[in-house]
């Protein structure tokens, strides 16, 4: 079943702001990244998906249902984690998540059990009986995730789940989202501005810009090989360049790396043998891939920086 499907979806607000324009997209199950939509576009799409607002044109289906007419069904199968703080400081996590489970239609006893289980799965143990007000940002993000997960939704909408976290918290949250997608078997749509995070955890990606679809594709299709090998050695780069060129390879120096055109598997052997013959240290050898960031790069201005930055 398609997670979210839209046809010529348009949303224009009272003031004339066009948040979404002619958006036709079909989001398949998996961990899906939603990028590029800053402000209006992103939150508008979430509100449309939850049936909180009506589109001005076109249509949207969530899990095959119309969020405007099948409000209850859609919302009981969707979990939503907002970007900003949304937790009452004077309740305990256990109490709050239980309450939210009941709000999603879980019977009282089930809500209590599932709240406890869900909090354990997101990594909150004894702390769950303390008031949320005393939690760290990382713990609060976990509670926000737990309340979206407590009723076992088919689809989880996560809005900037790593917002405000430091590197360690970020990594933990990403691991969690990935687990939800794979182990728990729940489809996730995650909004993020950080393309590296998207690349790491998502199976597919939807890029929206100016309210329009920029691209929707699987991540593997977006990060295909470029047909270029990156080679990094410690010293005597010139000698290696000369050597590879002599073997008929096309070589370009960029920053600390050599970019070698990949012709066929023999290219690998030529590089290996050149390194051995020159008695060099090989620090890196890899197929260069396209990056999600290429989507947003201006063809002229960005290309140079784009390649250097990966050095």
């Amino acid at each position: 079943m398609t997670l979210i499907e839209s046809e010529s979806l348009e949303k224009r607000y009272g003031g004339g702001t066009l948040a979404l324009a002619d958006l036709t997209v079909s989001i398949e199950p998996g961990v899906v990244g939603l990028v590029g939509a800053n402000g209006a576009g992103k939150s508008t799409l979430i509100k449309l998906a939850l049936g909180l607002i009506a589109p001005t044109a076109g249509r949207i289906r969530v899990l095959g249902l119309d969020p405007l007419t099948d409000v209850e069904q859609v919302r009981s199968q969707v979990g939503y984690m907002p970007e900003h703080d949304c937790l009452p400081p004077d309740m305990t996590a256990a109490e709050f998540v239980t309450h939210m489970g009941r709000m999603s239609g879980l019977p009282a006893a089930t809500a209590r059990e599932r709240a406890s289980e869900t909090l354990r799965h997101v990594g909150l143990y004894e702390e769950r009986y303390r008031a949320i007000g005393g939690y760290s940002t990382g713990m609060k993000q976990r509670v926000k995730l737990a309340q979206a997960l407590v009723h076992d939704p088919e689809l989880l909408l996560l809005d900037e789940p790593t917002n405000g976290l430091d590197p360690e918290g970020r990594q933990a949250m990403l691991g969690l989202v990935q687990r939800i997608g794979t182990e728990f078997g729940i489809s996730v749509v995650v909004c993020s501005h950080l393309l590296g995070e998207i690349e790491r955890i998502c199976t597919s990606l939807v890029a929206i810009e100016g309210g329009r679809l920029l691209r929707s594709d699987s991540l593997s299709a977006m990060t295909q090989h470029k047909g270029v090998l990156a080679v990094e050695v410690d010293e005597r780069v010139d000698e290696l360049v000369a050597r590879l060129a002599a073997a008929g390879l096309e070589v370009r120096e960029q920053g600390r790396e050599l970019l070698v055109r990949f012709d066929d598997d023999k290219t690998y052997d030529v590089i290996r043998d050149a390194v051995v013959d020159l008695d060099l240290s090989l620090h890196r050898l890899e197929q260069r891939r396209h990056q999600v960031a290429d989507l947003f790069r201006d063809p002229v201005a960005g290309s140079e920086v784009g390649d250097v930055q990966h050095a």
């Binding site: 909180l52 209850e72 919302r75 703080d85 939210m100 239609g105």
Partner: protein, 284 residues
Amino acid sequence: MSSTPEGVIHDIGYQRYQGQRLGRRYAMWSLYVHSLRTAFGLGRGFKAKLLPWTLTAAAGIAGLVIMVVGTQTGFQLVGYVDLVANLTYVAIILLAVVAPELVSRDLGSNVMPLYLARPLSGTDYALSKLAALISSVALTLGPAMVIMFAGNAFATKDGMTGVLDHAGQFGQGMAAVVIHSVVLAALALPLASLSGRRIFASTLVLALFLVTAPIAEGLAEFSDNPEVVGMITPANLLQGVDNWLLEGTNHPVGVWGPMHGVVTLLLTCAAVGLLLLRYRKVSA
């Protein structure tokens, strides 16, 4: 019996939920129960319980004193219905504390998006909260009525007729409790929902009831129809309604009774309308 060692690893991984999902009505009921518990500080610390329980106890003690004096001396200080009116200030303090607790907290800590992403709508949310607030006022005032009736019915010297007489008065008193609870809660909740800061919300609620009272009094001095100008303060308005609809009250409003009734009805409807409008705006 085999003696081979046995072992098993249980799956405590994530479990999908196949059971039933109850709908909107259940969510509303749950929210109502949750809010009512919150109103009386159940499941919370001592501080949250202090005020609502003190007020309920105060109202109960008032009923007890009147009942004891009445049964011992034969002189009833205040009737059932008038006691409810006299307890209006207790209700107002309760509302100033509980109404913000019920709605401002959710607004202030930004919990609304989490509710609205769930089956229940903004209107459902507002109505559940209103029902909880009405109930909490009724639960604060009601016990006083019960105490008065129980004591009087027990002590009556007129046998069954005495009991029935008090039952009638008790019924009138409970009707007043219901009317007062609905009207006061309906007026207080939209005010409290204007601010996410509890202190502001409390101030707004108190202002409605406490600022209008002296103004009404001042205006009454210069007016030919003090009953009419009195309507600008909810306490007087409700007394007028009591006098019109119920028996045994001491605040006659004469021919103005129906007008009090109509104004109260309009005011209540307007307040509920505003409340619903407010929560429609929260959702979009």
